[in-house]
C-alpha cells in the first residue's frame, strides 16, 4: 500500500468510530479512554508495517484497542485495590433521568468490568472482539495469532465467567445455563 496517509484512510479511517467505542466501553472514563487510545495508536504505529500487510487489518487494529483498554482497566482496578475501595477517577456526573437506575447500571458496569479484568488476557480479548465488535472467529483468530477453534474456546470460557455476574442481575434470563 502506498503512503501511510492512504493506508490510514483505508484502514483506520473506517474504524475510527469503532475504536472510540471500544476503548470507551472498557475504560468508561475520559482519562483512561485517552490513555488506552494513545497506547493503542502507539501499538499500531510500532506495528504499522504489519498492520498494513495483515490479512484482516481491521481486526488487528481493534484487537490492539481492546488490548490497550484491557491493560488500562487492569491497571486501574489494581490501583484501586491498593489505594482503597473508591475509584477516584470514575465518572463523577450521573446524567441518567432516573438516578437510582443509573446507579444500578453503573454498579453493574463496574462489576462487569471487574469480571472482564478477571479473565485471562486472551479470553478477554477474544470475548470482547466477539461480543462488542461482532467479529467472526476466523478474524479474531487471525488477529490473535491462533486457530479459530482456540478463539472460540476463549470466547466460550470468557462468556461463562461473565455469566455469573449477569445472573445476579437477570437470573431469570441467564440462569438457565450453567457455566
Amino acid at each position: 500500500m502506498n503512503g501511510s496517509s492512504t493506508a490510514y484512510e483505508q484502514i483506520i479511517g473506517p474504524l475510527e468510530n469503532r475504536m472510540i467505542r471500544t476503548v470507551w466501553r472498557i475504560t468508561r472514563n475520559r482519562q483512561d479512554a485517552e490513555d488506552a487510545l494513545q497506547n493503542a495508536l502507539l501499538a499500531v504505529w510500532k506495528r504499522w508495517d504489519r498492520v498494513v500487510r495483515h490479512r484482516t487489518p481491521s481486526a488487528l487494529v481493534l484487537k490492539m484497542c481492546v488490548d490497550a483498554a484491557y491493560d488500562v482497566l487492569r491497571q486501574r482496578l489494581r490501583t484501586r485495590r491498593k489505594v482503597g475501595g473508591i475509584d477516584s477517577r470514575a465518572e463523577p456526573i450521573d446524567n441518567t433521568p432516573d438516578p437510582p437506575d443509573g446507579l444500578a447500571a453503573r454498579e453493574r458496569s463496574a462489576e462487569m468490568l471487574e469480571a472482564i479484568q478477571g479473565l485471562s488476557r486472551r479470553q478477554a480479548t477474544a470475548l470482547l472482539l466477539r461480543v462488542f465488535e461482532d467479529l467472526p472467529y476466523e478474524e479474531i483468530a487471525t488477529a490473535m495469532g491462533c486457530s479459530a477453534a482456540t478463539a472460540r474456546k476463549h470466547v466460550e470460557r470468557g462468556r461463562a465467567r461473565l455469566q455469573i455476574v449477569l445472573a445476579r442481575y437477570e437470573p431469570s434470563r441467564i440462569a438457565r445455563s450453567s457455566p
Binding site: 503512503g3 501511510s4 496517509s5 492512504t6 493506508a7 490510514y8 484512510e9 483506520i12 475510527e16 475504536m19 472510540i20 467505542r21 476503548v23 470507551w24 466501553r25 472498557i26 468508561r28 475520559r30 479512554a33 485517552e34 487510545l37 494513545q38 495508536l41 502507539l42 499500531v44 504505529w45 510500532k46 504499522w48 453493574r108 458496569s109 462489576e111 462487569m112 468490568l113 470475548l127 466477539r130 461480543v131 462488542f132 466460550e156 462468556r159 461463562a160 461473565l162 455469566q163 455476574v165 449477569l166 442481575y169 437477570e170 434470563r173 441467564i174 438457565r176 445455563s177
Partner: protein, 578 residues
C-alpha cells in the same frame, strides 16, 4: 450452552457496558486520531523529503543541511513513546547532553553547530551569521556580524535540528545491528530519496581499528541523476559508544574533486545563550517578536491561511482597460489545496480546439470556466507537500514524425523552512488577501496606524520598512521592496484589502513599484468561515494601451466540494503531458 443462550448473554454483556460515548470524550479521542493521522502524513512527507547533500544550503544555520524529514520521523517516535527496536536505540544515542558538529565545506569555510536534544536548544556559528534557537519557546536569536546587531525573532527553524538527530540516530542503529540496512534510502531518512534521483550503488560496513580505537565504517556510494559522478559517503561510528563521529562526503564539483566533512563530538556542556558562541554582550538587541496589535495581526493572518478549507480554485487573470476577447485569450490557472498540500496547474491549449463563444452576461462564470478547462491539458506546475516544493519544467519535444508535443521534462524539489507561501500566492483565495507582511522578520520594521488618512474605509494600516541592503527591490520590481503598506480590515479577520509596495529613490522620495498595488475588491467566506478573496485588482500592472494603464484583475472561483484525491498532490513525474 446453545447459540440462543450465547446471544442472550452477549446482549446482556453489551447492555452492561453501553457504547454511548460522551461528546467531550469523543471529541478528545477524535483529536487523538486526527493527531495520529497527521503524524502518519508527516511520515509520508518525511519519506518524500529530498536531501541537499552536496550543494551547501542557503539557509545553513546550525552546521548541517536542513532536512525536515528526520524531524518528522523523530517527532513521531518520540511523541509516541517508543520502546523497542529502532526507536529505542535511536533514543539511546540521542541521550547525549550536547551534540557538537564541525563542518568543513568543499570551499574550506567552516560552520560549527551545537544541539541539545534534552534541552531543545541549538546554536550555530558561520561566517555571516550566529544563531541561537530555543525550541522550547520557539525563539530565535540571530546576530548579524555586518551590522553588529542581535535580533530576537519569533520563530525557530524547525527543520534544522532534525537532520542532526536523524543522522546520529540512524547510524547508531546501524552500528547496533552491525549490518547494512536492507533498503538504505528508506532507512537513512536524512538522505531523503531525492525523489527518484538517487540510487545506491554500493554499501559496506566494516570494522577497523586505528590507534587502538575500534570503529565501524559504513560506506555508501550513491548516484544522483543530476550529478555526473557518484557520491561517496563515509560514516564512522564509535564501535563501543555507537555514536557517529564522522561523516565525509566526497564527489566532484565543476570537474574538481570536492569533500565536505562533518565531525561530531558529544560534550557535556554547550552554549547557554547566544553570547556563549561569540556574540559581544555590547551588541544592541532588536526585538522583532510581535506584541500587542502586531501579534494579533500576525496570528490572525496566519490562522486564516492555515485554517482555510480544502478547495479547488480557478483563477482567471483578465486585463481591463483594453478591448480583449478574454473568453478566448485568457487561460485559467488551477489551484488545489488539501490541508498543508497545495498544487497549482499550468494549462496547455489542446490543438485544434475551437474558440469559445463569449459567455452570456448572466452566466455562472465559475461553471463556465470549469467547462472551459476541457479545452486545455493541465499539468502540475508546482506541488507543495509540507515544507517541500516540487517545481516542474515543461518543454516542447519533437517526435520522429516531426510533430511536436509537450513533455514535463524535469522536477526540482526544494525545501523551505517556516511558513510556506506558494509561488503564485497573490492569485490564491486565502493568500491573495493574506500576503506575507514581514512581521517578525529580522530586517523588517513594522508600524501600525489605527487611523490612516487613506485606503479602504474602516481599515488599519500596517507599514513595514525593509532595513537591509540585501536583496532589495531592483528597477524591474524584483526583490524585497523598501516598504510595504497593508490596509487590513478588522471586521473581516484582518484580511488585507489593499497592499502597496514602494521603493525610495536616492533622495528618499517615495516611488510606487509598477504593478505593485493590489486591491481586494470582492470577498466571500468559506464553509468554515474563513474570509477569502474572489476578485483582486492589480493596478497598473506594467502595461499601457494608448497611454492608459491596464489593470490585471484576478477572478477567483472556488469550489469547496471538489473531489481532491491524495494522488493529486503526489510529486509530479517527468513524462508526456496528456
Amino acid at each position: 450452552m446453545n447459540a440462543h443462550d450465547d446471544r442472550t448473554i452477549d446482549e446482556q454483556i453489551r447492555a452492561s457496558l453501553p457504547d454511548t460515548v460522551p461528546p467531550l470524550v469523543e471529541q478528545r479521542l477524535r483529536l487523538q486520531l486526527s493527531d495520529f493521522r497527521s503524524r502518519l502524513t508527516a511520515l509520508d512527507r518525511a519519506n518524500d523529503r529530498p536531501a541537499r547533500l552536496w550543494a551547501p544550503p542557503r539557509r545553513w544555520k546550525i552546521g548541517l543541511v536542513a532536512a525536515t524529514a528526520a524531524l518528522a520521523l523523530f517527532a513521531i517516535n518520540l511523541a509516541l513513546r517508543p520502546s523497542l527496536g529502532f526507536a529505542e536505540v535511536a533514543a539511546a544515542v540521542l541521550r547525549q547532553p550536547w551534540i557538537h558538529v564541525r563542518t568543513v565545506f568543499a570551499d574550506k569555510h567552516v560552520v560549527e553547530g551545537w544541539y541539545s536534544p534534552g534541552k531543545d536548544l541549538a546554536a550555530s556559528v558561520s561566517p555571516d551569521s550566529i544563531q541561537f534557537q530555543d525550541y522550547r519557546v520557539n525563539l530565535n536569536y540571530s546576530y548579524d556580524p555586518a551590522k553588529r546587531t542581535l535580533y530576537r525573532l519569533p520563530e525557530c527553524r524547525p527543520a534544522e535540528r532534525g537532520f542532526i538527530e536523524s543522522m546520529i540516530a540512524v547510524l547508531g542503529v546501524i552500528a547496533q545491528k552491525e549490518h547494512v540496512p536492507g533498503k538504505p534510502l528508506e532507512e537513512l531518512t536524512f538522505l531523503g530519496r531525492y525523489w527518484g534521483q538517487m540510487k545506491v550503488l554500493d554499501q559496506q560496513l566494516e570494522k577497523v581499528t586505528e590507534n587502538g580505537q575500534p570503529w565501524l565504517d559504513y560506506r555508501l556510494t550513491v548516484s544522483r541523476s543530476d550529478l555526473p559522478d557518484p557520491l561517496q559517503m563515509l560514516f564512522r561510528v564509535d564501535a563501543k559508544a555507537r555514536l557517529l563521529r564522522l561523516c565525509r562526503v566526497t564527489g566532484r564539483e565543476k570537474g574538481q574533486p570536492a569533500t565536505c566533512e562533518m565531525q561530531f563530538d558529544y560534550p557535556q556542556t554547550g552554549p547557554a545563550d547566544i553570547y556563549a558562541v561569540g556574540v559581544p554582550r555590547s551588541a544592541p538587541l532588536v526585538d522583532r517578536v510581535p506584541a500587542g496589535d502586531l501579534k494579533r495581526i500576525f496570528d490572525s493572518l496566519r490562522a486564516g491561511r492555515e485554517r482555510m478549507d480544502n478547495y479547488r480554485a480557478i483563477c482567471v487573470d483578465i486585463a481591463e482597460g483594453i478591448d480583449n476577447d478574454w473568453w478566448t485569450n485568457e487561460t485559467p490557472r488551477l489551484f488545489y489545496r488539501k490541508g498543508d498540500r497545495f498544487r497549482s496547474d499550468g494549462v496547455i491549449a489542446r490543438p485544434g480546439d475551437a474558440a469559445p463563444s463569449k459567455p452570456a452576461a448572466d452566466a455562472d462564470m465559475g461553471k463556465w470556466w470549469h467547462n472551459r478547462l476541457a479545452s486545455f491539458r493541465c499539468y502540475p506546475h508546482t506541488v507543495i507537500r509540507g515544507s517541500t516544493t516540487y517545481h516542474s519544467r515543461v518543454a516542447p519535444v519533437t517526435d520522429p514524425d516531426g510533430s511536436q508535443h509537450v513533455d514535463l521534462v524535469s522536477v526540482d524539489p526544494s525545501e523551505s523552512s517556516g511558513e510556506i507561501f506558494p509561488a503564485e500566492y497573490s492569485m490564491m483565495p486565502e493568500f491573495g488577501c493574506r500576503p506575507p507582511t514581514g512581521i517578525g522578520g529580522q530586517d523588517s520594521e513594522p508600524v501600525i496606524n489605527l487611523h490612516p488618512a487613506d485606503g479602504p474605509k474602516g481599515c488599519i494600516l500596517l507599514s513595514v520598512r525593509y532595513t537591509s541592503q540585501r536583496d532589495r527591490i531592483n528597477g524591474k520590481g524584483i526583490g524585497i521592496p523598501d516598504e510595504s503598506r497593508f490596509w487590513l480590515d478588522p471586521a473581516r479577520d484582518d484580511i488585507v484589502l489593499r497592499w502597496d509596495i514602494l521603493h525610495f529613490d536616492a533622495s528618499g522620495k517615495e516611488t510606487p513599484v509598477a504593478g505593485g498595488s493590489y486591491t481586494v475588491e470582492e470577498t466571500a467566506r468559506s464553509p468554515q468561515g474563513v474570509w477569502y478573496a474572489t476578485k483582486i485588482r492589480r493596478k497598473n500592472a506594467g502595461r499601457t494601451a494608448g497611454g492608459k494603464a491596464i489593470d490585471d484583475v484576478y477572478h477567483l472561483y472556488v469550489d469547496f466540494d471538489a473531489d481532491l484525491p491524495d494522488k493529486l498532490f503526489d510529486p509530479p513525474r517527468p513524462g508526456r503531458i496528456q
